[in-house]
């Protein structure tokens, strides 16, 4: 089912959490809401779920063309996975998963047998067979996360919403679960919207990334498109490391070619001020000789650095890629820095 968000405003007292936000989420897609804390992404997710209501009269939320703006959360048919899972800690895993079915009115509530079967099926789906009698405190973080997911899926939601799904997990579990979730999504094909502040997570996992900042959407698009062609300086800076050159251009560290200073095609010469080799990758900081005080980060291969026999203090040449439109992004207004107008 597609989700359509149309010019939503949300204020908390004097604070504006969402300022005229509109977004289309296509049916069956996996969409990431990406942004720093305070950007409004969680508020947007909660409005889609019906856990917050947009400012009266401001805009609409449509599920497959049907206006659900006034529909209470319990009737929207959304599955919501909370950041800290919000598992019912006094219930077993099975009871947690079955909860949404057992609270149905007697007329539409499935038979006990049916509920048990559904719970079993969901446990299998999230790979937690045999843990049905456990209680939440007896599970690892990754297991709790999957119980929360199974509980949300039990009511056969039309949309799945996840708030910082990997936020509370260790680095390794995070990675595993991320891949698993992608696979899982491909299998069940449920329209899914998740919130994250981690750009790597958004880029790796999502079909479509929505970058948010200061209560507004900065840019929407497929991960590769957003990474390669950021429309604003904020998006450029938020999605991975980037150098801002004196002429206002943005260049990612891996796009810079490392040469000897005297070679042809060198755009800029500078002194290596820092050199760090980790495995096959070498990271250099180069201080331009032109008198600019802005260090330039360059990523090269270890082989190249070895070949050139570089060490800290050496002079190197840098060659920038040809200018693309995207390298001069629109200034993100509030972040304007008066010192940035140097040539």
């Amino acid at each position: 089912m597609s989700v359509s968000i149309q010019s939503i405003h949300k204020t908390f007292g004097n604070y504006t959490a969402l300022d005229d936000v509109s977004l289309e989420v296509p049916n069956g897609s996996l969409t990431a809401l990406l942004g720093p804390s305070g950007s409004g992404k969680t508020t947007l997710l909660r409005i889609v779920a019906g856990l917050e209501y947009a400012d009266p009269g401001s805009g609409r939320v449509l599920f497959h063309g049907e206006d659900v703006t006034e529909v209470p959360a319990g009737k929207r048919g959304v599955g919501f996975v909370f950041q800290h899972y919000a598992l019912f800690k006094h219930m077993t895993v099975a009871d947690n998963i079955a909860f949404g079915l057992t609270v149905l009115p007697a007329a539409s509530r499935p038979q006990k047998k049916e509920i048990d079967d559904r719970v079993k099926e969901l446990l299998r789906l999230v790979k937690l067979e045999g843990l049905d009698k456990r209680r939440p405190h007896e599970l690892s973080g990754g297991q709790r996360q999957r119980v929360a997911l199974a509980r949300a899926l039990a009511i056969r939601p039309k949309v799945l919403l996840l708030d910082e799904p990997f936020g509370a997990l260790d680095a390794q579990v995070r990675k595993d679960l991320r891949r698993w979730l992608r696979q899982f999504h491909d299998e069940i094909g449920l329209t899914t919207l998740f919130v994250t502040h981690d750009q790597e997570e958004a880029l790796e996992l999502a079909d479509s990334v929505v970058v948010m900042r200061n209560a507004r959407i900065e840019q929407t698009g497929p991960p590769q498109g957003i990474y390669d062609e950021p429309r604003t300086s904020f998006v450029y800076e938020f999605l991975g490391e980037v150098n801002k050159l004196d002429d206002g251009r943005y260049v990612r560290p891996h796009e810079i070619e490392l040469l000897f200073a005297a070679e042809e095609g060198v755009h800029l010469a500078g002194r290596v001020s820092h050199l760090f080799v980790a495995g096959p990758v070498a990271r250099l900081s180069v201080m331009p000789e032109t008198g600019s005080r802005r260090e330039i980060e360059v990523w090269a291969t270890r082989d190249q650095v070895d070949e050139m026999a570089l060490s800290v203090g050496d002079i190197v040449g840098l060659r920038f890629p040809e200018l693309k439109a995207s390298q001069r992004p629109r200034k993100t207004p509030e972040k304007d820095d008066p010192n940035d107008h140097s040539i």
């Binding site: 019906g50 919000a86 509980r151 009511i155």
Partner: protein
């Protein structure tokens, strides 16, 4: 608990402080407690037992139980509703409301009794009306219940508010997204999470309700065998120099206090965290 030496005191200082605390608390707590039971049994078991077979004593016990049985459930319902209101919702005047809930803590029990005398007493606002319709509130059970409710008003709410605040509303919101209705959320999600705190609040409320003296003393009229609660009965016996009988009844109330403390410790043991707070 072994602490690194840099952050604890030397042995002698430590034992001096422990010793001081022990002496202070023994004088303050254990001695009075022991005195209750020693005085109660000073004239032997017979006198002790006889103190309760007295008609007035039996009726005092009955009245105490009855007024607590009315006041405690009422304040429990209020406490749960108030805690739900101030922890699950944000609204204008919320912190003011919390202060109002605490208000009875700052009001003398005597004043708690006085206000109802001024409202319902023979010369009070509703006095003539009540007399006309032959309804007794002051110097009768309703007045005793009202005064008790006033004094024990904040106990359950006070216990639940910090607890529910710290638990947040995540689980309730999860239940909402899963389609649960209000009472389903309350009984199936909230109550299991707060049951120990609730129980403790009810225990404290009950202990205070059964032991309340000042407020009840003002509204009861001290009609022997009729409107005397157990604490008032203790006073009457004491003032009539029936010391052993007075202390025998006091011992029963002290026992109630000890049971309350014991249950409280058990509750803390069950929940694994303390329910310490303001009372």
């Amino acid at each position: 608990m072994s602490r690194p030496s840099a952050t604890t005191e030397s042995g002698p200082v430590r034992w001096l402080l422990i010793g001081l605390a022990f002496v202070a608390l023994s004088l303050f707590l254990l001695l009075p407690l022991a005195a209750v039971f020693v005085e109660a049994l000073r004239q032997g078991w017979d006198v002790f037992i006889k103190a309760f077979s007295d008609k007035a004593a039996a009726s005092a016990i009955k009245l105490t139980l009855l007024s607590a049985a009315i006041a405690v459930p009422l304040n429990t319902i209020f406490g749960v509703a108030a805690a739900w209101l101030v922890t699950k919702f944000r609204f204008k005047g919320r912190s003011f409301l919390i202060s109002l809930i605490d208000l009875p803590f700052a009001v003398s029990p005597v004043i708690a009794g006085l206000v109802f005398v001024l409202l319902f007493g023979a010369r009070g606002w509703f006095g003539p009306f009540l007399q006309e319709h032959d309804i007794r509130i002051i110097f009768a059970l309703p007045g005793i219940v009202l005064a008790t409710v006033f004094v024990t008003f904040p106990f359950v709410a006070r216990e639940l508010i910090p607890l529910m605040e710290s638990q947040g509303s995540d689980q309730e919101e999860a239940a909402v997204t899963l389609g649960a209705g209000g009472w389903q959320i309350f009984w199936r999600v909230t109550v299991p999470n707060i049951k120990w705190g609730l129980l403790y609040g009810i225990l404290l409320c009950n202990a205070r309700a059964m032991g309340e003296f000042g407020a009840v003393s003002v509204v009861s009229g001290h009609i022997r065998g009729k409107t005397n609660t157990l604490p008032l009965h203790v006073e009457v016996l004491y003032n009539e120099y029936h010391f052993s009988a007075a202390f025998a009844c006091a011992a029963l109330l002290a026992l109630l206090a000890l049971v309350t403390l014991g249950l409280k410790t058990a509750v803390e043991h069950f929940t694994g965290h303390t329910t310490k707070g303001r009372h």
